[in-house]
Symmetry: C2
DNA sequence: GTCTATAAGGTGATAGAC
DNA sequence: GTCTATCACCTTATAGAC
């Protein structure tokens, strides 16, 4: 990505990333074309390639740009207060991310289903460390008898899975529930809250 | 798909579908090429197109071929016996599907993330009916006080999400757990079994 | 039924004018 | 910085020999 200097450059760079998020999340890396991204960003195709050297560069910039946002909700799960409430709060934050940022969720889903060729390093590095830290936190809660005996890794996997499902499989969820707008998200929140509360309650 | 008449035709048709499952599940519809499928099926590219009229025809045949297999575990969840055990058994069947058929899971994941352009009818038709039936079954169990008060649709979504996660996000799961082979699946089974049992236990 | 050759169209990226 | 024109490549699909 060209480091934006003028106001126009900043605006165009942002327009490109916004358009790229639209197209890559909906069609995957291969399915996306520079034509579609250019049209949505209201730029010519060569002009896209003035700001980014290649299609892959746009994709990588987008993933890097969003990675931190994606890991933030988990970072906020901390010790202090009631562990069950801490975990339930994380579940609800993550579900809210699915509601507000479904394209971002699908972008990562696409990338990981394909074997995560562009973010392997992120998974093996920063995400792995964050995961280890939070799994240890959960282990501590289990040992202190504050929550039921669960494995931290699989608990977090289950939270990712259940919440991202509403973004990644949106079409299926809507096809089966036929909700008006996002109405089903409050049902999902109610379900998940009760579910995790019961499953985590000690003894 | 050509209706297989000779032994050779049957063998080739199967080889094509097997190769197509490999390639489509790993690369998505757009990312897959006839070259890759032909090479893996050990046929020439025009020979592929002798058996199937187009790339899309192979893809559609594959999805149709696998749809029933994919819905079967849910069909087997029935009334009779302890409802909690019935649901837990479904969870474990579904997890076993993720272990044994990860490519199939990723094929559907790819398709649905992209908006399910080829299986919309299946979702709105047969799957919708099956879902309604099983949601009603769960509602009955709730009303009889045999399981905790949960919404059937969201319960089934959570089961799909948590179990398919181990197939669809396999790379991420392995990157974080570094398991030997499929060793982590028994941990996942243990986690999910305990989790659903506690969450569903009435009062 | 299976092959080689190739048509036809799309796509990422570059050249060069302005 | 942005555009028009275009190249080089890849991919689906077909033609036609055997």
């Amino acid at each position: 990505m060209k480091t934006p200097r003028t106001r126009i450059q900043k605006k165009n760079t942002e327009a490109i990333l916004e358009a790229a998020l639209d197209v890559f999340s909906a069609e995957g890396f291969k399915g996306a074309t520079l034509d579609k991204i250019a049209k949505r960003a209201e730029l010519s195709k060569p002009n896209l390639l003035y700001y980014f050297p290649s299609k892959e560069a746009i994709y990588v910039a987008l993933l890097g740009h969003l990675m931190d946002t994606w890991m933030d909700p988990l970072k906020e799960m901390r010790d202090g207060g009631d562990p069950v409430e801490e975990i339930v709060a994380y579940v609800l934050r993550k579900l809210e991310m699915s509601r507000k940022f479904p394209r971002e969720s699908r972008l990562f889903a696409n990338e990981i289903v394909r074997g995560a060729p562009h973010i392997r390093d992120m998974i093996d590095g920063p995400l792995s460390e964050l995961m280890a830290e939070k799994a240890a936190l959960i282990r501590g809660w289990v040992k202190a008898g504050q929550i039921a005996d669960v494995d931290g890794y699989h608990l977090i996997f289950s939270i990712w899975a259940t919440t991202q499902h509403y973004a990644d499989f949106d079409v299926q969820v809507r096809g089966l529930l036929r909700p008006k707008g996002d109405a089903h998200f409050s049902d999902a929140a109610k379900f998940l809250e009760g579910f995790y509360r019961r499953a985590l309650r000690p003894n």
